[in-house]
Symmetry: C2
Subunit: 435 residues, 2 copies
């Protein structure tokens, strides 16, 4: 039980340079081992970086395997040829946890394994510096989302994920057995965030999982993902929501660029801050992709190829590949979407497409009780089924709207990943339920 004995103070690899010619102890994973004559060079990796440790004499005979957890004590020394210009001349070392033979190595430029294998062994694959960087950046994105909104007077809310009914009509729901009653996993906090606006918080956000029991098993879909939800009261139109999202994304990307400089450099990602993101009505977007690329679109919408092309169109004009698509027709938006003021067949709604992938859906909501009842009826639905939701609109509800960003999609687009699963530490899809 070595770990219970009094240990020397641990120094992070990145801080060894503050202790030149003095004794230090580092603790971390064995990143690489190289024997050279009478010496062994053991690179130790911790959360701050990698340091070269030089083993001599009997220490070189220590049985060591890659990815074991090692504690090395020695003298910090300048070493111009070592990575980072520092090394530790080891005096003693002990293995805190020995690693078995690895299913794949994590000290090469890329992992030589299929995505499924990488996902099966997350505790190992996430040690690879490139994969590791993804979730540092994701953490920073979530933090910046929170910071920005708190500065703008938003309150963080926590709403239940076990719900009695679906928000979007009842399909794609995961059933839960709730003490013998039928319940479901929430597809979105839509109704709850609207309620919290109406409860007087006016401006609310939530960072929480949502669930979509979609049968798709594509590179764009997860069945459980983190939704960054925003809802705001007393708006005049959905334009304010797009203004907010644009400014917020700018802030988030600036913050990530500052906090994750090393991670972004490692990934070769150059974050381009969006200037004004264009806002294009969907009908016009359809005309553009047809005229320019000969691509026809489904009624009132863009398909994935259309989304890719409209981003390409925007990028060709020298802007970041981000575009708001607006004015979706009522029939493809939910019953709570506010009709557009100039044309009741369209809605005051929008999607944000980032490099060909929809990362946001948003819009103004109907806040008038009678209008909402008539919208529900207009879809052949029964207002009785929405009684709890409708109740919210009976006690004074301001004009309001909001949007939601899929955190994994945002992360994966930002980092140029080809599969959204790469931006989920433990993805859930049609077939994957572990780890």
């Amino acid at each position: 039980m070595e770990i219970h004995s009094k240990q020397p103070i641990r120094v992070l690899c990145a801080h060894v340079s503050e202790h030149v010619e003095r004794p230090v102890t580092v603790q971390g994973w064995v990143h690489s081992i190289r024997h050279l004559g009478q010496l062994a060079f053991v690179n130790v990796r911790d959360r701050s970086g990698i340091i070269q440790c030089v083993f001599e004499r009997e220490l070189t005979e220590m049985p060591l395997s890659l990815e074991s957890v090692l504690s090395v004590s020695g003298i910090a020394a300048l070493a111009p040829k070592a990575p980072g210009g520092m090394e530790i001349r080891a005096v003693s070392a002990h293995c805190m946890s020995a690693a078995a033979p690895l299913p794949f190595e994590v000290n090469k430029k890329t992992i030589g394994a299929r995505l499924d294998t990488v996902l099966d062994h997350r505790v190992l694959s996430l040690r690879h510096p490139r994969l590791h960087a993804t979730f540092r950046i994701q953490s920073a994105l979530a933090g910046a989302f929170r910071d920005y909104l708190c500065r703008r007077g938003f309150t963080q809310i926590f709403t239940p994920k076990i719900v009695a009914a679906g928000t979007e009509g009842g399909s794609n729901l995961f059933p839960v057995d709730y003490f013998g009653r039928q319940a479901y996993l929430a597809q979105s906090p839509q109704f709850y965030k609207q309620m919290m606006v109406g409860a007087g918080y006016e401006r609310v956000f939530e960072i929480a999982p949502v669930y979509r029991a979609e049968e798709h098993n594509t590179s764009r879909h997860l069945n459980e993902y983190v939704s960054l939800d925003v809802e705001m009261g007393f708006i005049q139109s959905e334009e304010e929501l797009m203004d907010l999202e644009q400014e917020m994304l700018r802030y988030m990307l600036e913050k990530v660029a500052a906090e994750c400089e090393a991670e972004l450099a490692l990934l070769g990602v150059d974050i381009r801050l969006p200037d004004d993101i264009p806002r294009i009505p969907v009908a016009e977007a359809q005309r553009i992709v047809e005229r320019k690329y000969g691509k026809t679109s489904p009624k009132g919408d863009l398909d994935p190829e259309g989304e890719r092309l409209i981003c390409q169109h925007v990028a060709e004009s020298g802007k970041a590949a981000l575009v708001f698509i607006t004015r979706y027709p009522r029939e493809i938006r939910p019953m709570y979407a506010m009709p557009a003021p100039e044309n009741g067949a369209l809605t005051a709604s929008f999607d944000l497409i980032f490099n060909g992938l929809e990362i946001t859906t948003g819009g103004q909501r109907i806040h008038d009780y009678e209008e909402l009842v008539s919208s529900i009826r207009g879809r052949g639905l029964d207002p009785e089924h929405f009684a709890g939701y409708l109740d919210v609109f009976r006690y004074g509800m301001p004009p309001h709207g909001g949007f939601a960003i899929g955190l994994e999609r945002l992360t994966s687009r930002l980092l140029g990943q080809s599969n959204v699963r790469e931006a989920s530490a433990f993805p859930r899809d049609r077939t994957r339920l572990a780890p």
Copy 2:
């Protein structure tokens, strides 16, 4: 569709004082209406506070109901007798959303309704300033938790809530139908946060819902709650975890005291920062409550009454009513609990009891593969059932441990609420599934 017309710029109630003798527009809920001769005094409430609006002449005849959403334009004026010393001499007003008769009023000192009714009508009850304050404070607590940990080098993680098996042995799980396969809702992110420590992040936290299908329907239990989870690698003992939690709570309470001054004043809550929180082994705590209060305890544990009494004991010595109970016996802690170094029948674990309520469970975990296998076997469990979890310990796992705080329990203790449901916007319990 009045709301689509161009509106004047809205000023928050709290900012009206910056516009003395100038025209302003406020928008909010009708908090109270008082007719006095030829005048009507209409108090309007928004997210920033309440302002008195003075209606004259035909405006006094406007049909108005409590909690309707109103837009009032007029001249801001000093009014020493009005709440806040300001009022608006209304020139025009229009109703943005009319409220139906209320099931209870929210402008009295307390709500004259049972907790169930209050919870049934959250969009209304949360407008009551006292209830409203709870979730502003909760938002600040969650933010301070994040801030503190990020400063200490922690990474925020997001882990799945749909899982293939339970963490704590398999009881109290909510079953989910996952595309025809049996899955469950996560009772805690325990295994995932340990994995993320082992994946090289070393220090991680998560803010997310967890699920306990406990049949209890008490004032202390929720079936879905927000867990503030922390896990940290390279610790020498669980003492470091208690140090961390103590310092973190201090930071969180300071931050809340600063950010929510008005809310705390309204609730009459005087946040006492904990000095050093005492750490008492459970066997000693049992002796104290027996000797001092004649209270016997169940084997190796304190029951709710014992938890109340040990806090009373600590408070009687002039400290805050907070106490770490340590050294729980192995048989009442999970299989992953690290045995105490001096006595293998006890564990390096702790609970934090706050005013008689357990708000944290934590401890050091076993990180050695063989020791973990033997601990699982020692409980008559089959290591095969934990194969995925055990795998994590085969590739180098540092000593580590962590803890989790129930956000609603922390909030409710801090505010002196008698039922934890009051600290959940939309609680889920044995019978409640809506709203």
